[in-house]
Structure formats: structure tokens, C-alpha cells
Symmetry: C2
Subunit: 282 residues, 2 copies
């Protein structure tokens, strides 16, 4: 892996060394935590499912009233330039759009766009074979449909996750689960129906792909999942850009299904890996 | 008023021109909106009630697991240096403490401390004479006791406040009001009892001072205030470092009391102005 000193970023109109990418302290991200972002995976020089990520990026920007300084076409071309310049293997591109340099530290200004590309690791095979343990926490993100930069709760929970020797934390509200700080949640019912929450969640791109793939072989549902539904489930897993499909074998103190990664879960992971490959070759 | 180009700031250990104060894009404030801040008023070179602001600053830092890079004494001395260097009249000092330069964009790093001093305006006399109109919105901040940088909701509501020709927006939850994005709320009951919400609010320093001042002349209460309590109130006002005590004469479509700034409100404003003067002379 190369060090950050050799990486390039895009910052306010220019491609520059990542180590030279700074924002002034008057930026509303620093002053008021105001901004949105998105994150896509790059494999063999190809940003996977880029259309979907750009759609969501511009959607979040609109919801937060942040006009992007680049058109979708310009952003696409900038991403291509950055990928060529960095020439990384498996990596992620983060696009951050902030509230801009605010004169009074409160009113929105002209948004600042920053693109960062950095190497990425996928979950180790050992973790997929074993499955992960998760804990739960009552919380709903403020604007669940938008990918805002507000991860205060997620970061505050890192320690609790570690202390309980868990791998992630699933949010719920009034007994209905929603999402992880950075991943979506799925269960597989005893009848092999694949279910994922529909309310108060970020519409993950991997969530969307997995729902489509699951629909080819299984019944699928988007709807409310209670904690009790999870305890009764045959399988559970999470999805995200970096984690793909990761089996969940324990939720708080409750072992899910057989306590081992489920067949449907592993099948969907393989289908997703195939879909990524197909996308790269297309 | 001098331009920003002549102002000095403190950034990561150094006093430097404000225009040169930048944070790298890997900072968790930019990556994840993670940070806390505080803000005190400076008059005639004196940071008013600084002990209280520093207490709250370090309190917020502890709640958010952000160890400050300066001790309270060092911070106090840095504030003094900045005030001497900037030599401003009425101004505000903002202390921002961020999650730091995070290697993976998620885990907390060594916090970055930034101090900015900028000129400040108090509310014009005309606004005090007339009183302000406010609207309401259902919302509770995520960690109400901590002064985090997350103002996503407040900033998103700016437009609605303007569209409704209001001056600010009061948060409530389940019919119980809490606070404004940047101010505390008070009512004066028909029997002249001065009441302010106690739950889910930031403990404002001006709120504390006004409660103390009010206690010398009136009955005071910290407790739940419903929207209906407001409609029945004799007077209403908000408090903040920059706004001091500002009369509220309309809440949504409901005129409060006589529709003019109340006697108790204006009395408490005068007491606060006197207290500030006394602090400066002490």
C-alpha cells in the first residue's frame, strides 16, 4: 500500500497531493458539521455502479440545499482523472460536499467539493466464514434519506462495540430496526424470504443490488423488521460498499439461526461478487 | 469593522492570520461532522464569564471523548494572547475542538483545537423594543448537554424561519419545548414566575446568569414548558451570549401576552447588562 504522501485528491477545483488538501476553518463542515458525502468502490480502475452513487450524491446534495460546483458529467470526468492519476488497486473514492466558507459561521455559502481516493480492504475470508456479532442501539439518523456527514452517534458507539467484542451496532427505534451507521441490514426468514427495512434507512447501493439479486431466486420484502423478527430469523447479514455481504451470527446475546453464516447469505455474497465482475467487464 | 485579513486565529498550537487557518480534509469534523465548540463574548478586552464557558467547553469535550490539547490554564492564556493581538472591540471568541486527523476517516484521532475571534453585533434596540416572532419545530438535539458542532437541523430551518418572517425557531418534542438552535427559552407566568426548560437543553451561560438574576426578584423554576403554557404566559423571551435577553411577542400564529415586550423581560435584560458591566469592572 502506498502512503498518503503519494496520493492525489481533488479540492475546490484542483487535483493536488492529498497532503495539500485543506479547508479553511470557516467551512460549515468545521463550524457546524454541515455537509454530505458519498463513497464508491474502485476495482481495476473502474468505479463500480458509479451512476447509482452519483445519483445518490446529487440527491443528498439537493436534500441539504447544497448546489454542487460540478455537473454530473464534470464530476464523472474528475473521478476518472483522479483514478488515472492515483493508479491504485482496490480503493474507495469519497466525495465530500460541505456547506462552504460561511461569513458568519451559520449561513450556507458556496459549497466546497473534495474528492479523496484511498486504498481499501475487503472483509477477510475468515470473518465471512465465521460471521460477525452485532449489538443494538436506539437511534434514528436525523435525515435518514441523505448521506450527511453527521456520524456523531456512530463514532460515540465505537467504544461500546469494541467493549462488547462486537463488530458493529444496529440502530432501532420503538423496537423496529433500521440500519447500521454505515451499512444496511437484512434477514432471511425461515421460508427463505429476504427482508430489509424500508423506513428510516439510507438507500444503500449494495442494498439495492442485493435486493435485485435476491429477487431472482428468493422472495424479497422491504418492510418493518422487529428485534423479535431477527431472533426468529434463519439468517441475518449486512451490506455495504466496502463490506459487500457480511453474515451476522449473533445480535446482542442472541445467536441467530444455527450460529453460522447462512446459505442464502453466502449465495447472495457470491452473486454480488459476480455482479461486480460483470460490471467491470461490461 | 476590520476585514478578516487582519484578524488572527489560533490553530493547532500557533497564533496565525485567520486567513491562514486551515484543517486537513482528513479531519473528523469534515469527514464525520465530529467536534464540539464554545463561544464567549469579549467586551473591552475582557472575555465575559470565561470560567463558565471554559467549564462547559471542557465538559462537552469530555462527553464527546475529545481530550483537549491545552489545559484550562493554557487555553485561558491563549485566549488572552489572541485578544491582545486582535485588539477588537465587542467580539466573540469561538473555540472549536474537532475529532482530529483520522487515518481511516472514522476513528477518533488527536483532537485539533482552533480559536477564532471575530467582531460581534448585539441585537439592535429597535428589535428589543418591538420583540421578535418565533416559529416551532419538533426536534431534539442528539446530545443536548454537549455543545457539538451538529447544526444540520438549525441550518436547514433558516429558510423556513425567513419564509415565515420569523426571527428564530424553537424546538419541542411531544408538546414540551426545549431550546432554540443557539438560544435558551424562558416564559414569565401570569404570577411573574420565570420559567425555563430543564430537559434536553444546552445549559446556556446566559440562561444561568438570567436564572440567578431573576431569582433575586421573582420566583424561578426549571421545568417542563408546554406549547399551551406559552400561549397562557404573560411574557416570553430567549437568552444567548450574543442576544442577551430578547423579548418574544409571537409564537407561530399566537400573540404572547400583550404582544409587546414584557416588563419582567426588559427588567432582566437591564440586570444582565449591569451584571456584564460589573464583571468587566471586577
Amino acid at each position: 500500500m502506498r502512503s498518503n504522501t503519494e496520493l492525489f485528491a481533488y479540492n475546490q477545483g484542483e487535483i493536488m497531493p492529498l497532503e495539500a488538501a485543506f479547508l479553511h476553518v470557516s467551512d460549515l463542515a468545521i463550524q457546524r458539521g454541515y455537509g454530505i458525502f458519498d463513497f464508491c468502490k474502485v476495482q481495476e480502475g473502474i468505479p463500480l455502479f458509479l451512476d447509482d452513487y452519483l445519483d445518490r450524491f446529487f440527491g443528498s446534495a439537493t436534500m441539504m440545499e447544497l448546489p454542487a460546483p460540478l455537473t454530473e458529467e464534470e464530476l464523472r470526468s474528475t473521478i476518472t482523472q483522479l483514478i488515472l492519476k492515483n493508479n491504485l488497486g482496490l480503493s474507495g473514492i469519497k466525495m465530500i460536499l460541505t456547506g462552504g466558507y460561511s461569513a458568519n459561521g451559520y449561513d450556507l455559502a458556496e459549497p466546497n467539493l473534495v474528492l479523496i481516493q484511498q486504498p481499501l480492504s475487503l472483509p477477510p475470508q475468515e470473518q465471512i466464514d465465521r460471521g460477525i456479532k452485532i449489538i443494538t442501539h436506539e437511534y434514528v439518523r436525523e435525515i435518514p434519506a441523505a448521506k450527511t456527514i453527521n456520524y456523531t452517534m456512530g463514532i460515540r458507539l465505537i467504544k461500546r462495540v469494541k467493549d462488547q467484542r462486537a463488530d458493529d451496532v444496529l440502530y432501532y427505534k420503538n423496537g423496529v430496526v433500521t440500519e447500521f451507521p454505515r451499512c444496511n441490514f437484512f434477514i432471511v426468514r425461515q421460508d427463505d424470504t429476504v427482508v430489509t427495512p424500508s423506513e428510516n434507512v439510507l438507500r444503500g447501493i449494495t442494498r439495492k443490488n442485493v435486493l435485485e439479486l435476491a429477487g431472482r431466486k428468493y422472495k424479497t420484502e422491504e418492510g418493518a423488521i422487529t428485534l423479535d423478527d431477527i431472533y426468529q430469523a434463519k439468517e441475518a447479514f449486512l451490506t455495504s460498499t466496502t463490506k459487500r455481504v457480511l453474515p451476522i451470527v449473533q445480535v446482542d446475546d442472541v445467536v441467530i439461526g444455527t450460529g453460522k453464516p447462512g446459505e442464502v447469505t453466502l449465495d447472495l455474497l457470491q452473486d454480488l461478487v459476480d455482479l461486480e465482475q460483470k460490471y467491470r467487464l461490461s
